[in-house]
């Protein structure tokens, strides 16, 4: 089972990685975007982490709803509404849960990926964060209660890498056309950090527990 505590740890770990990778994400966004992706996410998740330590939520759904609202009001840009929508969809899927079975959590991820697709109207292969979210969520759903965090991490990494050779069709990088090829998509990279944090947190806690 995935506990409220673990979800909290996941978010704190995500924030830690994003703060560390802020400049790198910004560099990636400078290459094919407008150079604010790292700054935007670092600002948003900083606030998420701060709120986590200030107030405690009764269940996973409530916690993720707070996260969604914070991201919506603090990130801005394209990634704000996309991440905000993702967490909003997850919060609905995990409403009132104090702990979630792996297959429930997987379905929440799938809802999140669909939310991103609905909001951003991108398809897999358009060189966006969806290129990570959708395959990772699909894998998680497919594995169901035999969910392997390690497999999920590998999938996320592979998908992130796959954006390098794509031509962007959505988001700011699309303006560059062919010139976007050869660069990782910043949103795909930040999404991968989210899954890296998830996998890391869950693995650690499993080992520890």
């Amino acid at each position: 089972m995935i506990t409220l505590k673990q979800v909290e740890s996941w978010l704190i770990e995500t924030n830690r990685i994003l703060q560390e990778k802020k400049a790198y994400l910004t560099q990636l966004d400078q290459a094919i975007g407008d150079g604010d992706h790292g700054i935007n996410l670092a600002r948003g998740f900083q606030e998420v982490a701060k709120n986590l330590s200030d107030q405690s939520a009764p269940d996973i759904g409530a916690l993720l709803k707070n996260v969604a609202m914070t991201l919506l009001s603090k990130v801005g840009g394209a990634s704000g509404p996309l991440y905000g929508t993702a967490f909003l969809k997850m919060s609905t899927a995990l409403k009132d849960k104090v702990e979630a079975a792996p297959e429930e959590f997987a379905r929440a991820l799938a809802e999140a990926a669909d939310g991103i697709q609905m909001r951003g109207k991108a398809r897999v292969g358009d060189k966006t964060m969806l290129d990570v979210w959708k395959p990772v969520a699909d894998l998680a759903v497919q594995q169901g209660d035999r969910l392997s965090w390690e497999a999920l991490l590998q999938c996320s990494l592979k998908q992130m890498e796959s954006t390098r050779n794509l031509e962007a069709k959505k988001g700011r990088a699309a303006y560059l056309g062919r010139r976007s090829v050869g660069h990782l998509d910043p949103g795909a990279v930040s999404s991968h950090y989210l899954f890296e944090a998830l996998s890391g947190t869950m693995t650690r806690e499993e080992t520890a527990g």
């Binding site: 910004t26 400078q30 290459a31 094919i32 975007g33 407008d34 150079g35 604010d36 700054i39 935007n40 600002r43 919506l72 009001s73 603090k74 990130v75 801005g76 840009g77 394209a78 990634s79 704000g80 509404p81 996309l82 909001r119 951003g120 069709k169 959505k170 988001g171 700011r172 699309a174 303006y175 560059l176 056309g177 010139r179």
Partner: protein
């Protein structure tokens, strides 16, 4: 990074404070990055809200005032503002006649303004949206993000604002805004990149004799790189691309904007206009008015954009209507 700032994190906050201090016709909604007309909401009038990332000054708060916008929402530098901020703007300017959102076509702007519109409608406010996509440098296709909104947006503010201040309905104001959007085209070029304060380094590098053609206003690279050209060649390149997309025949009438991207002095913009005006004259296109200056900038980027707005009687009349704002007074 050499900038007259206090700290990279504070630039938007400080700028908004300096702006309302300079312009008594503006106020800042407490606790937000929203600038509204001091007399908002104006009763009987459709409210006009625009905004986007900061770094494009005077856009958009410089266009808030009589005859143009009612509110401008300032995001972080080059980052679309968030839905809660846009919602505050909508609520502050709605006088019961509905609110038009003028959105530049960027994924982030569109999504954040859309979410705000949904929230406002949930609160019972009528909201219409128009999306400006004047940048001909970018391939237009329904499969991609489509064209960006750049300097042409200011003409939408002006003309929709003029009609709104005459008491037109939300539908009418939306319609005229869409008409402007159909008839306006722009294209930009840059001599130097710009530096997002919080990033601290330029978005791209350019050699001493290189320029970017087809550049946006968010420090993103252009569509192609070229050798440094004369002002005449630059003007010709931008104009020809625009006229391919917005055919203007001899005898037709247009408004012209030579927009500075932030660090390009007026001298150079006027030099560009010399060629633009000559080329339009050659083609028999009548220039009704020419606007030269920094209207939609990109921090301290050097370069310019050219905008053409095809005018009919209605648009001419609204373009010439009075306006009292920080950056557009007539």
């Amino acid at each position: 990074m050499k900038k007259l700032i206090n700290s990279p994190e504070q630039v938007v906050r400080d700028m908004l404070d300096g702006m309302v201090a300079a312009h008594p016709h503006l106020k800042n909604l407490p606790g937000t990055q929203v600038i509204v007309r001091a007399d908002a909401p104006v009763s009987g009038k459709v409210g006009l809200v625009s905004g986007g990332g900061s770094g494009h000054e005077p856009a958009h708060a410089g266009y808030v005032g009589k005859g143009m916008l009612d509110a401008a929402v300032a995001g972080e530098v080059f980052t679309s503002p968030t839905p809660d901020q846009v919602l505050e703007a909508i609520k502050a300017v709605d006088s019961g006649n509905g609110v038009l959102l003028i959105i530049k076509n960027y994924t982030g702007d569109v999504m954040n303004f859309e979410m705000a519109a949904e929230l406002a409608e949930a609160e019972g406010i009528r909201v219409a949206k128009v999306v400006v996509n004047d940048d001909v440098a970018v391939e237009n296709s329904t499969y991609t993000t489509g064209r960006r909104g750049i300097a042409g947006t200011v003409f939408v503010h002006k003309i929709a604002g003029a009609l709104a201040s005459r008491g037109a309905s939300l539908e009418q104001v939306e319609e005229v805004a869409n008409k402007v959007i159909r008839q306006v085209r722009s294209m930009g070029m840059a001599l130097t990149p710009c530096i997002v304060p919080a990033a601290g380094t330029p978005g791209f590098q350019l050699g001493e004799d290189e320029i970017e053609i087809g550049l946006g206003i968010h420090g993103e690279p252009g569509v192609y790189r070229s050798k440094l050209m004369t002002a005449e060649e630059t003007a010709r390149t931008l104009l020809e691309r625009i006229l391919e997309d917005l055919p203007l025949s001899s005898g037709e009438k247009a408004a012209v904007m030579i927009n500075g991207l932030g660090a390009t002095p007026l001298m150079e913009l006027y030099i560009v206009n010399k060629t633009v005006s000559e080329l339009l004259k050659e083609r028999g296109i009548a220039v009704h008015r020419t606007f030269v200056g920094p209207y939609m900038t990109s921090l301290e980027m050097a370069g310019c954009s050219l905008t053409l707005l095809k005018l009919d009687e209605e648009l001419t009349d609204l373009l010439d209507a009075p306006a009292r704002t920080a950056a557009w007074n007539q």
